[in-house]
Structure formats: C-alpha cells, structure tokens
C-alpha cells in the first residue's frame, strides 16, 4: 500500500531524512519509533504531500502522494483544530472534503462518535474540550472518510487512559478492515497491544524493521532472585525462564523473591540506540 524508498530531506544544515525506506502493507500496522529528530514527522509530512523530498520516491497504492490525497487520513503530532467549531462540524467538514454526503456522512460521523467516545461532546466547540477530547476529535477527523492509509503521528501524546484505549481500539478496527497504518509513538506498550510491526528510525533512516518477537529474540532478559531477604542475584540472559530454573537448583538458601523480566521494546530501543551511536 505504502512504499517509500531512499527518501532524502534536508532543512538547511539539518539532514532530516537520509535514505529513509519503509513499506506498509494493507491491513498492517507499522509502529514507527525514534527519538525526537529521527525523521518520523518529516516522513509523515512527505507521505501526506505537505512537503516534497529532496530525493527518493513514495507511492501510495502505486500512485504518488499528490494523486492519492483523499486515500490518506492524517492525525498530525500537533493539535490542528478550529477552537470555535464543534466536534460535529469538524467531522462534517473533513467528511465533505473527502466526498461524503448526506446519509454516508451522517453514518460515518455517528459511528466514529461511538467508537472514539465523542457522543456526549459532539456539539461542543473544540476550544472548550479537554486535551484528550481534542486528541480524539483530531483522530476522528482523520478517520471519518475511511482512508486506506492512516498516518497517526503521536496520536496519544499527552492523552489520558480513556483516549489512549479508544485510539488503540479504533486503529485495530481499521487495520482489521484493511487499512495500512503508520503509527508513531514514544509509548512502546501501545505497539505491543496493537501487535504492530516495529520500525525504528534513527538519524533519518530506518535501522530495524520486523515483527516484535523477531526483533526481541536476540535481546537478553533478566532474572532477579533475592535470598534471605538480603542478597540479590541478577542474571542477564536470552532465556530468563531456563536461567531461573538453573539458579533455583543451585542455591540452598531461602528464596524471598523472584523477578523474571523478558526483553521489552524499551530494551530493543535502547540497544539499537547504543549500537548505532557506537
């Protein structure tokens, strides 16, 4: 669905993208990770046709971004709402711009209102909503026309638990219906819940891409055993369960606590950052 190859973008002295390559299939959720300045937002802006790359190529369903507008739903990193306009009026505007009319528009709005828990606030102006409600309104604006490609740039930044859960639910639902999703975030557990393919960006390029399990396979987990409530033994290992069995077989003192931690996305992220910094 989305194929980006060797994208290059420079802002003055800053190399925002430097050979950024990423593809996303229909129905796939790609969780795009990276520090601030890794190139995530620049990538989203290029795919949205807001800026042009200095080099490289992007196609959406085989077409350039300029020809695929309307197939794309974008929820930008920063809130982009009209404060004096209600939630319903936002959805009507973006729905109409995408070509929805009357019944189709009404049904799309009502469905999103339920899924994103907006029903109670549909006729309130967005300037008077909480941050989480504004985030959900912004996401709804991106989703109202059922785009085939969703670009969600940190959609849950600063959001409350209700907003985060609603967002994850709707992203899973849309991916289940066949939408390709690019989801940038700093909240790694969200990507685990979304069962997303992970892509890690650093210095304007993708340095790792794959299923979460694959990427975590070679990373060490940790076993921590406390003896007599005093002495603590910690073992870093790729197989924490086996290491625990081995450890318990060797000690002859009372074990007061056991902590087994499998490798997480945080570990992956830190490991890749260290590797590439070196």
């Amino acid at each position: 669905m989305l194929v980006a190859t060797d994208l290059v973008k420079r802002y003055g002295d800053v190399q925002a993208l430097d050979g950024f390559t990423l593809s996303v299939a229909a129905g796939e959720i790609v969780g795009l990770l990276g520090h601030n300045g890794a190139g995530k937002t620049t990538f989203v802006e290029i795919v949205s046709h807001l800026i042009r790359p200095d080099g490289g190529r992007v196609t959406i369903d085989g077409r350039p971004p300029s020809a695929a507008r309307g197939e794309v739903g974008v929820a930008p990193q920063h809130l982009a709402l009209y404060p004096s306009i209600t939630v319903r009026e936002h959805l009507e505007l973006y729905g109409r711009l995408a070509g929805l009319r009357r019944t189709a528009l009404h049904e799309a709005i009502e469905e999103l209102a339920v899924v994103l828990r907006l029903t109670e606030i549909m006729d309130r102006r967005t300037g008077r909503l909480s941050g989480g409600q504004q985030r959900r309104t912004q996401a709804a604006s991106a989703l109202v026309h059922r785009p085939r490609l969703l670009l969600l740039d940190e959609p849950t930044a600063g959001a409350d638990l209700e907003t985060r859960q609603a967002m994850l639910d709707v992203v899973k639902q849309r991916a289940g219906e066949g939408a390709a999703v690019v989801y940038t975030t700093h909240y790694l557990p969200e990507l685990t819940e979304l069962r997303a393919t992970i892509a890690v960006a650093r210095s304007g390029r993708i340095i790792a891409r794959g299923a979460c399990d694959e990427l975590l396979r070679d990373l060490p987990g940790e076993v921590r055993v406390t003896l007599d409530g005093e002495e603590e033994i910690a073992v870093s290992t790729s197989d924490p369960a086996a290491a625990l069995v081995d450890l318990l077989g060797r000690v002859n003192r009372p074990v007061t606590s056991v902590d087994v931690r499998n490798p997480s996305l945080d570990d992956l992220y830190r490991s890749l950052a260290v590797t590439h910094a070196a």
Partner: protein
C-alpha cells in the same frame, strides 16, 4: 474517439461541493467571532454622523467626501479581517490539515476567501446605503457601477490582506501593520482630507496609496461617471491580481515548520 463528459461534470460538481463545504465552514467561523466585522461597520457610521456638519461647511462635496472617505478608510481596516482569518489557519495549524484533504490549493483558497469577500462587499454596501439614508449622500445614478467598484476594491483588499497574512509572524505584527498601514494609506489617499487641500508632497505621495485609487474610483462610481471609474479600477485590479497571485503561491505551499513567533 468520443470522450465521456460524465466524469468531468462529476469532477466539477465535486469541486463545487468541496468549495461549498469550505465556504460554509469559514462563514461559521466568521459569524461566531463577529467583533471586527461589527466594529468596522459601526465606527464609520458614528463618525459619518458626527463629522457631517464639519465637512458640509468646509467642502462643496462634503457629504460625498465623508461618506466615501470613511467607507474607504474602514474598508482598508478590514484588511486585518482577511489577514487574521488566514493567519489563524496558520497558528491553529489547520491549513496543513486542509492541504492533506482531497481539495486542491485553489479550492482551499476560494473556500477560505469567499465568505471574507462577501463580508467586505457587504460592509462597503452597507456604508454606502447608510450614507444615502442617514447623512444625505445623493442616491448613485448607477448602483451597478457602485457595486462593481465595491467588488473591485474588496478584491484588492482581500489580496492585500492575504499577502500580509503570509508575511507576518503573529497576530500582533498583523495588527500593527494593518492598523498603521490602513490609517496611513487611506489618509494619504485623501479619505479624511481631500487631496486638493493637502500639502504638495502629500499630493505627490498619494499616488502610491491604494486608498487614493479606491477613493477616486468610489467617488466616480457614486457620481455615475463610468469613464472616471476605469483608470483607478484598472490599477486596483492589477494590484489585486499581483497580490493575490503572490499570496496564492505562498498558501499553496504552506508555511512549513518555521515562520511563527
């Protein structure tokens, strides 16, 4: 081979539908924050009443001077309305959100500016009608000519406002430039005091002010002098087209990440 006209017609209808949605949306925004609009209509109305006796005593065409002069002056102030409307899209970050939609740049621009254009035309038309009803401005012999002059002047103002919005970095900057600029340009153009009694340097400098051409065109239109309307209308049209093209180019490309205070 025959070409099927259906998709093309559908494309035009879709475009009209999108422009309609944008215009409706922008009209709602305007109507929910009507303060500027109201003050730029009410203030000249009050001033016309208060200043009329003075102008009638001082000038042969005192009523026409005060009615058209204040109309031009406060319509220049309305530049800030256009500027604010466009600058707000930038500060709210909504312009880029619209650019991602199916609507191409020209539809976004038309949808954005159409309600402003209507508001500006309404402001000027109301002031002319008020001039006739409240301070005795003679009813123009050719209302269509007056309407044409109003449309041309509104177009030029809208374009100038759009240019300002693409150049300034904050609402504060826009306010300073549009207010000081409006007062200077309209005064220099003869909106408050007729050019004939202004100092020589001011009479020479007046020709760089759009207010001068607007006033000249408007007074000719009110007299029903079609030939007198043409030269100034041409200058304002060229100015409006040039400014509009510049603003459209800037807006179509967006602002990127920089430029705001």
């Amino acid at each position: 081979m025959l070409l099927d006209p259906a998709p093309r017609r559908l494309g035009v209808l879709d475009a009209l539908h999108r422009i309609g949605a944008l215009a409706r949306h922008n009209l709602i925004i305007r109507l929910r924050d009507p303060g500027q609009m109201i003050s730029y209509v009410a203030m000249p109305m009050v001033l016309m009443l208060v200043l009329k006796p003075l102008y009638v005593r001082a000038l042969d065409q005192g009523v026409a001077q005060i009615a058209t002069g204040l109309m031009v002056m406060f319509s220049v102030f309305a530049i800030s309305m256009a500027g604010n409307a466009i600058l707000s899209e930038r500060t709210w970050r909504t312009w880029d959100r619209l650019r991602v939609s199916r609507a191409p740049a020209f539809e976004l621009l038309i949808g954005k500016t159409l309600p402003l254009f209507v508001v500006m035309i309404a402001q000027q038309a109301i002031l002319i009608v008020y001039g006739c009803l409240a301070i005795g401005l003679p009813v123009p012999p050719s209302p269509p000519l007056v309407l044409l002059a109003i449309v041309i002047w509104a177009f030029a103002l809208l374009s100038l406002g759009a240019v300002l919005a693409t150049l300034v970095r904050s609402h504060g900057e826009l306010s300073v430039i549009s207010d000081v600029g409006a007062l200077t340009l309209s005064s220099l153009g003869g909106a408050l005091v007729p050019l004939s009694i202004m100092p020589g340097w001011a009479q020479a400098a007046a020709h760089v002010s759009p207010g001068y051409y607007a006033l000249d065109m408007m007074q000719a239109a009110v007299r029903g002098d079609a030939a007198g309307v043409v030269p100034s209308a041409a200058v304002l049209l060229v100015l409006g087209l040039a400014a509009g093209a510049f603003a459209a180019r800037r807006l179509a490309r967006g602002w990127g990440r920089g430029g705001l205070l």
